[in-house]
């Protein structure tokens, strides 16, 4: 007979889970595996709310399994470390992002690209090597293989640093891979939300000129005065968009709804690159003439490998980069999700798990 989430494993755990595609989260008793030789058991202090959590709990991508405990921007303190673990000790500040496992033997894993391993295991809404369901960071503790845990820099605040574990690496990785780190080059960032605002900060640290492209005129002051963007374009202002045609070396597109690529491609110089990070639920329309006539390209990117995640955290610590967060208690999570659906957050909710998660 199948074991229940509560009895499946020896360590008791408590969190909030969605039960169905309504996405409403509620208290949930479950359990975590025994801390193995390669594992680290972490008491969770904060967990960021990523927009992917919202897509996932509502089954917008069609592969949800319930009950689902979301959360993949997890920071906390090591409580136990397995006998083969050398990197971490009790009391260390650590983080866990979007993955908790991979095959560890394919070409991608061997090149520190665990995120492209065909057997990569997501932190939640997935199945672990032992066949059991994975539950994410909206919970009091988590057990993770040391390979998928990163050290959290001492100088980085826990709450504002948590979102970097997904949002941070998701923008840092393509900036490196697609060569967007040459000082003085011009980067456009589409969408000023969780991903976009972190992208502005990291891009400025790379010495890039940054223009934010957004459908909300109200975000201009924030973008320029507070986040440090050099320019701002309202996507519904055709004259300003046209005036900026052919001015950008690259564009990072963080928008996850279906939207037009034609004006974005026109903003690029010849040989420019448009990198899309959002996951719309339908295909986008891709006009080919601008691609061919200008030798432009559209590329994707998906989080980053473990080595790169650590590198990103260290880079952000060095440049004092964190996310702009609104800290909430766990019982406010459903209200936060409703606000997130309307983009009503500047710019990431972070759940104060340690102080607010009680049975």
């Amino acid at each position: 007979m199948a074991k229940s989430p509560e009895t499946e494993h020896p360590q008791k755990a408590f969190g909030w889970a969605a039960r169905d595609s309504s996405g409403v989260l509620s208290p949930f008793n479950f359990s975590r595996r025994e801390n193995g030789d390669e594992d680290v058991t972490i008491k969770i202090h904060f967990c960021g709310i990523c927009h992917s959590d919202l897509h996932a709990i509502k089954n917008e991508w069609g592969f949800a399994h319930y009950p689902m405990v979301p959360g993949h921007e997890i920071v906390g303190i090591v409580m136990k470390s397995g006998k083969n673990v050398e990197k971490f000790r009790e009391g260390d500040r650590v983080g866990v992002g979007v993955m908790v496992g991979s095959c560890m033997s394919c070409d991608y894993c061997n090149q520190d690209l665990e995120n492209y391993c065909p057997k990569m295991i997501f932190t939640y809404n997935s199945v672990y090597h032992d066949g059991t369901a994975n539950y994410g960071g909206y919970s009091d503790m988590i057990v993770v293989d040391q390979h998928f845990v990163v050290r959290f820099p001492d100088t980085m605040p826990f709450d504002a640093g948590a979102p970097l574990l997904c949002a941070g690496v998701t923008v840092y990785s393509p900036m490196k891979y697609y060569g967007m780190t040459e000082p003085g080059k011009h980067l456009g960032i589409v969408g000023l939300g969780g991903l976009g605002h972190v992208a502005v900060k990291i891009a400025k640290a790379f010495g890039l000129k940054v223009t934010v492209i957004s459908h909300s005129p109200g975000k201009e002051t924030e973008a320029v005065d507070r986040l440090g963007a050099d320019g701002f374009l309202v996507s519904s202002d055709p004259l300003k968009i046209k005036a900026a045609f052919g001015s950008m070396d690259y564009i990072i597109d963080t928008v996850s709804s279906v939207h037009a690529l034609t004006p974005l491609l026109a903003l690029l110089k010849p040989n420019g690159k448009l990198i899309t990070l959002g996951l719309p639920d339908k295909p986008l329309e891709l006009p080919m003439f601008p691609l061919v006539l200008g030798r432009k390209l559209v590329g994707g990117s998906d989080i980053g490998g473990m080595k790169e995640t650590q590198e990103m955290l260290d880079f952000c610590a060095k440049h004092s980069i964190t996310a702009d967060v609104e800290v909430i208690s766990m019982d406010q999570v459903n209200v936060a999700m409703a606000r997130l659906a309307k983009s009503d957050v500047r710019y990431r909710f972070v759940i104060d798990v340690a102080n607010s998660l009680s049975k």
Partner: protein, 360 residues
């Protein structure tokens, strides 16, 4: 108002074939070329390839054509005169001109030898030259061109079979280099086995790739493998074949200019794979975003190549004995050739024997 008369516009009489209107029918046309300037090279046109773009342009399918239109941008011939400042060429040299005859020569793209991406790039035909006159292409007996936009055709290459390399050749060679798909041992797909595709197979094999041709026509399989040297062949409409080949290709060069689905092509790519389009469908294509992200794949474009690269391509072709497979025709066959080209009935490029058959 006195309209510019093509015959009187310039001092050097020229004769060619021009389309007069969107019917695209080509007929004899008297016009004139400029006097050989200090930096110009004048040459007798010996052969000119018929590119599919010529067909699109004579019928104004892209909406940019002006008439009368003398097409032709796969032009080879022999130098008859050089301007006083010309250093690279002399009378008697075998030369070629491709898709561009001018650019601004001062922007970043021009300075980096990618004149083909200069915003002021001047096309060999149906363009406007620096002096304000319309450019006329290679379906004509004589060309006058700035030496910067002229390439040497290596002695080892026969002129007729080399002509198509000036557009088809460079159109495939450039993206193979730019997108890093020129490494020995990579597995490359080529979609479409026409003028572009067949030349692409040859270049890719010479660069050491394993090549799979992807086509809608099963009938082309034998040719692809036995004649052009492809390693394998996929029928794109055969779902089982396509499924079995998923995640096997490092790159794909897609030469098809009709609207077609790219999702199955993206599926054929390995993680980090690259789909490069060199044909330009006029309607947008559907781009599925999940596979792009999950596999960090890219979809890019490419358009001909710069002058330095065009010369490099010809020299590479000479070294590896690469020419196009051609059907040489006389000038008076050209309208029939266009009709056959429309139906894909050519193996694999028509080349007009200008020197012997095009006379006023």
């Amino acid at each position: 108002m006195v309209a510019n008369q093509p015959e009187k516009e310039n001092p050097v009489p020229a004769f060619g074939l021009a389309a007069r209107d969107q019917s695209g029918v080509l007929s004899p046309f008297n016009f004139s070329r400029r006097a050989t300037g200090e930096k110009d090279v004048k040459f007798k046109v010996i052969y000119c390839g018929i590119c599919h773009s010529d067909l699109h342009m004579i019928k104004n399918e892209w909406g940019t054509s002006t008439y009368p239109l003398v097409p032709g941008h796969e032009i080879v011939g022999e130098v008859t005169e050089v301007g006083s400042q010309v250093e690279k060429f002399k009378v008697g040299d075998r030369v070629g001109v491709g898709c561009i005859v001018g650019s601004c020569r001062s922007c970043d793209n021009c300075s980096n030898s990618i004149e083909n991406y200069c915003p002021k790039m001047i096309l060999t035909y149906a363009g406007t030259y620096h002096d304000g006159t319309v450019t006329y292409g290679g379906y004509s007996d004589v060309m006058v061109c700035d030496e910067h936009f002229v390439v040497r055709v290596p002695d080892a290459l026969p002129l007729d079979a080399a002509a198509p390399l000036l557009c088809a050749g460079i159109t495939l060679y450039s993206p193979l280099r730019y997108y890093g798909l020129d490494k020995p041992g990579i597995h490359l797909g080529i979609v479409g086995l026409g003028g572009l595709g067949h030349v692409g197979v040859k270049f890719a094999k010479a660069m050491g790739a394993k090549v799979t041709v992807i086509s809608t026509s099963p009938a082309k399989k034998q040719e692809a493998i036995e004649r052009h040297g492809a390693d394998s062949f996929l029928v794109s409409r055969d779902q089982e074949q396509m499924k079995a080949a998923m995640g096997t290709l490092d790159g794909i060069i897609d030469t098809v200019s009709a609207v077609h689905p790219i999702m199955p092509l993206i599926g054929l790519l390995k993680t980090h794979g690259k789909l490069v389009l060199v044909g330009a469908p006029e309607k947008p294509l559907e781009l599925p975003v999940f596979p792009l992200l999950m596999g960090r794949k890219i979809v890019g474009g490419s358009c001909i190549g710069g002058m330095k690269e065009t010369q490099e391509m010809l020299d590479f072709a000479a070294k590896h004995n690469i020419t196009a497979d051609i059907e040489v025709i006389s000038a008076d066959y050209v309208n029939t050739a266009m009709q056959r080209l429309e139906k894909g009935d050519v193996k694999y490029r028509f080349v007009i024997d200008v020197a012997k058959t095009m006379q006023a």
